[in-house]
Amino acid sequence: MVQIKMHLLVCGGTGCRASESHRLVDELNAQLQLNGLAEEVKVVTTGCFGFCEKGPIVKVIPDNTFYTQVKPEDAEEIVKEHVLKGRKVGRLLYEDPETLEHVSDSKHMEFYQKQVRIALRNCGFIDPENIDEYIVRDGYAALGQVLASDPKETIDLIKKSGLRGRGGAGFPTGLKWEIAAGNKADQKYVVCNADEGDPGAFMDRSILEGDPNSIIEAMAICGYCIGASKGLIYIRAEYPLAIRRLEIAIKQAREYGLLGKDILGSGFDFDITLRLGAGAFVCGEETALISSMQGSRGEPTIKPPFPAQSGYLGKPTNVNNVETFANIPPIILKGWEWFNSIGSEKSKGTKVFALAGKINNVGLIEVPMGTTLREVIFEIGGGIKDGKRFKAVQTGGPSGGCLTEEHLDTPIDYEHLTAAGSMMGSGGMIVMDEDDCMVSVAKFYLEFTVEESCGKCSPCRIGNKRMHETLEKICQGKGTLEDLEYLENLGKVIKDTALCGLGQTSPNPVLSTMQYFKDEYRAHVVDKKCPAGQCKALKSYVIDETKCIGCTLCARNCPTEAITGDKKVPHVIDQSKCIKCGACYEKCKFGAIQIR
């Protein structure tokens, strides 16, 4: 048997594949073949490394060299220089945005230093299409251990670990299992909620793409604990790669006897089927999800009854989110004390976030609960892009709130984020800089909830629409102070009266921005100005006479002939004709066009 001396881990997540990482894999293999290295160097397609900003990623094991933005054409150099001669390819190494120095390996990258990866433990390490690689990293050991013990012990252990639902609401997982276990029925179900719908969020997708077996194992454990023999994964149809890898993993697990009848000789039967969601955000709400799985309209139902009492097909059903499940096997193997020691007072363990927006290191991160926003944004995230000023961070997905500079030292956990007017949500984190108009930001998020409201309850169906229309009016410069009062009252009432979590949180972006950026709102309605210069209707382009030399370039580029003036004489913009397209601003070489 030939000893494998080196592994080249190539990210096979959706993002990196979109940047042709699969072609890179082919190219690396071809180059290894060409150089006679195919036997001793193995290329592994893994799940997401999380460092999506600089994908595709290639990581070299054992030296942890971390190559970023690798193209298929770079394969030859990596093989010839690094593999063959042991010389790192400097130009492909990660460059620290502050020091501008190349970082030799992932251990020295600030992005990874602050992270603690539990749910993402295998993402970027193993080939998700090969169950053996999961097993080598202690995969299915937890299941084996659980099957040899009393389900009550496991439930107790999960309870003591302090694990809470990672879908956003933070309900204690062990308690949820205990309730489902306590309800007697001839059939129960374990459901994995993989209907990740927050814009810009891809935590669950990455876990499913990078480590599908961890979910299968955890679902089987849950099934054993609550007395369910059937598992269902409700996954969005828009995640084809995750679906494929889950299908492969389920097939392999069945072949190994880790799913199906009499698992590991324990007498316990459990199998999993996939249900593809049709892309409605609200189906991430557990009762809507169940409704959709039953073939009905995807809309939430009143609770009680809770799914643990009467869920899928009227049977007790335990619904957990992907990330919650991903935490289960390590908790069982390493013990509740270990998990309980990580995190903050009431929020234990870690949380995965999808960092996005105006931040240097866009990507997927996992940090201990209690890490501050500042650490995440400025250390792991590498700070704000292009040296701009931080303005706000929006946590909790489209219905989270926007937090400001003063909240940067807020520890990230369920309690603190809620107290600050936002929420944990499923882990979206979007950073905004000084160029972002907070009224527009609120309007953007509301647009999403207006689109994604199921339409069942009146406050969400009509209220969000009315709020959106009012914000639109404000951005048009037609807002009044009464509109602000109206918005505030409406937002509070929607939160107070909506049927499900979607409506109960949808006004958050508006209410939090109104609270923290009151002046910006007032500027829009009183001064008719958009301080960030984003609201088209509220800005005007004017020509600074002292700078304009009368070159006529702007006039020639104006699509509405709003700019007039003789050659070599300062030009003038007719505001009644100007459509604020910004063409003059872009074209002027003398900085004479100003936005007011």
């Binding site: 009143i302 409201s453 069942k456 009315r466 009016k473």
Partner: protein, 588 residues
């Protein structure tokens, strides 16, 4: 049973475990308003989607407001139903609903009947805040013979959906689209007439607004009444007299048979007749048919189709034709009373009165809107001239009386005209669930056994349970009967018959809750089941007070057979009073 103590608006309340805050509040005289919630006690009719959010209340210690319709009481709970926070939320939500609702109450068919309008008044809404040019839902109008859909007025309470899908199991209506564009519609947004709709109208009967309304045919009636070339006769169904009074402020269950006849005469009808006459005729035909089938069966004929299914209810017939096309020879071939009346009027009465068929206009007043559709069925017309020309509902008759400036309450009691106005008590109870079966049993027993009944009231057949069964001793032969009301119950019975699980001789089916008294042509019950019971009681009282209580004793029925039809199931009777059914499986 476990009792729970709680406080609602500072009043201590003790309720059984499982009681909602909404119900508990009613027990102490606190009426929390609601738009979507509706429940007909003991009829299995409930709509509780928790959608309108009007019934929200404040529960101490709870983060958000609780929908009282779907929140169970818990021990020590402290509830406030009218705190400033609650009132503000309720008014704001109401304003939102109104902001997406046409402001045309004055010309709305539901003006004065609308729960949304009432609530807006109760909550004192004086202004509907929204931005200029705020979006409003617009959807095409959909007209059918029986009902009209104007979904712009829909508030998505989903009551119609519950009735159509859960109660009736028809499945014509369901919510489509998302968010602000959500709308209750048919599959593929077909017209109702092309959908599986059976026109039972129960969606209309529960609609809190003007989104689903009855087709208005009063104008057509006024027009023929004013036409000197036409002779206009009217027939009124048994359930109408038990509910019409409600439209004039009379107590539910007040029988207004005499005043109704007087009012119809004042409206200008040339003859005021009674569908009850035709109900007696139905019993003669259907009862004979039943005895024929039972007789053949007893003689060992295994091809005979039992049970016989009643055929009075047009919505049920539609439902049957769509869902059970493999059993088309199962229902009685007897036409419904409305159509029997039409056939007799146009073929017997017209001659007797010396009026040409096309100059005789038959108007029916029905508790039902499926009847509007029924009279348009092709098999019920001759050369394009229908046996029944126009069918109006109880509510439409009330509207006509009001429009004609008739002070209904002070009218004297008058009798129906002869010959088609005479009826027995058996016919009167057609209007309530079990009535047709009881009437049939009264006549069939006497015909079959040749003996006089000792007792006339068959109480074992009466009641409001969805499915009832009884065995009646026909002098040693046990006749097993089943009564189902609401089509979902009918489906259970039919599936059992089809699979061989049930063995009945006769089954009565009525589509609406409580039978015709709960029809969609009646004044709206607004979720009050006691109202339906009062109407049923009114019919049973009228039956008990009648001198004749068995259909075959109706002297004008006897005369009709003697003068015209010969005997029940004769060739002429078959031609005029019987029909056939169609396979309409393609509609579902």
């Amino acid at each position: 049973m476990d009792k729970i103590k709680l406080t609602i608006d500072n009043k201590p309340v003790e309720v059984a475990k499982g009681t909602t805050i909404f119900q508990a509040a009613r027990q102490v005289g606190i009426n929390i308003p609601a738009l979507c919630y509706m429940k007909l006690e003991n009829l299995g009719v409930e709509n509780r989607p928790g959608a309108c959010r009007i019934c929200v209340v404040e529960v101490e210690g709870r983060r958000n407001l609780a929908p009282s319709c779907s929140t169970d009481c818990t021990e020590g709970m402290v509830v406030k139903t009218n705190s400033p926070r609650v009132l503000n939320a309720r008014r704001t939500v109401m304003e939102l609903i109104l902001s997406d609702h046409p402001q045309d109450c004055l010309v709305c068919p539901s003006n004065g009947q609308c729960e949304l309008q009432d609530l807006a008044a109760t909550l004192g809404i004086r202004e509907i805040r929204k931005v200029d040019n705020a979006a409003v839902s617009t959807y095409r109008k959909d007209y059918s013979f029986s009902l009209k859909r104007d979904m712009d007025k829909c508030i998505l309470c989903r009551r119609c959906e519950s009735m159509c899908n859960d109660v009736q199991t028809v499945g014509a209506l369901g919510a489509i689209n998302r968010g602000f564009k959500s709308i209750v519609a048919t599959a593929f947004e077909q017209n109702l007439s092309d959908s599986p709709c059976v026109f039972c109208g129960q969606c209309v009967a529960v609609c809190p607004t003007g989104a689903l309304t009855r087709t208005d045919d009063t104008g057509r009636v006024f027009k023929v009444l004013a036409d000197p070339t036409k002779t206009v006769v009217v027939q009124t169904a048994p359930a109408v007299r038990a509910a019409l009074g409600e439209e004039f402020g009379l107590k539910p269950g007040t029988s207004v048979t005499g005043k109704m006849a007087a009012a119809l005469r004042r409206l200008g009808f040339d003859r005021v007749f009674d569908t009850d006459f035709a109900a007696d005729l139905t019993i003669m035909e259907e009862g004979t048919e039943l005895l024929g089938r039972i007789g053949a069966f007893l003689k060992g004929d295994t091809s005979v189709k039992l049970p016989l299914l009643t055929s009075c209810c047009p919505a049920w017939i539609n439902f049957f034709e769509q869902n059970y096309p493999d059993m088309l020879d199962q229902p009685s071939t007897a036409k419904s009373p409305q159509q029997m009346f039409g056939a007799v009027a146009k073929n017997y009465l017209a001659n007797k009165m010396g009026v040409k068929r096309e100059d005789l206009v038959v108007v029916s007043v029905m508790p039902c809107i499926a009847k509007k559709y029924e009279c348009t069925r092709k098999e019920f017309s001759v050369d394009g001239n229908p046996d029944v020309d126009i069918s109006i509902s109880t509510a439409e008759l009330a509207a006509m009386i009001k429009m004609a400036n008739i002070d209904f309450v002070s009218l004297p009691d008058e009798d129906f005209d002869k010959p088609l106005g005479e009826s027995t008590g058996a016919a009167v109870i057609f209007g309530t669930t079990g009535g047709v079966m009881e009437a049939a049993v009264r006549t069939a027993y006497e015909v079959f056994t040749g003996k006089t009944l000792d007792r006339i009231d068959f109480k074992e057949i009466r009641g409001f349970e969805g499915i009832r069964t009884a065995s009646v001793d026909f002098n040693g032969t046990m006749v097993n009967v089943c009564i189902a009301h609401q089509l979902g119950n009918a489906r259970k019975v039919m599936d059992g018959i089809r699979s061989g699980k049930f063995n009945f001789h006769a089954v009565e089916v009525m589509a609406c809750p409580g039978g015709c008294i709960g029809g969609a042509g009646q004044p709206y019950h607004k979720g009050d089941a006691s109202l339906l019971k009062a109407r049923a009681q009114s019919l049973y009282r009228e039956d008990a007070d009648k001198p004749l209580r068995k259909s075959h004793e109706n002297p004008y029925i006897v005369k009709l057979y003697k003068e015209f039809l010969g005997k029940p199931m004769s060739e002429l009777a078959h031609h005029l009073l019987h029909t056939h059914y169609f396979d309409k499986h393609h509609k579902i």
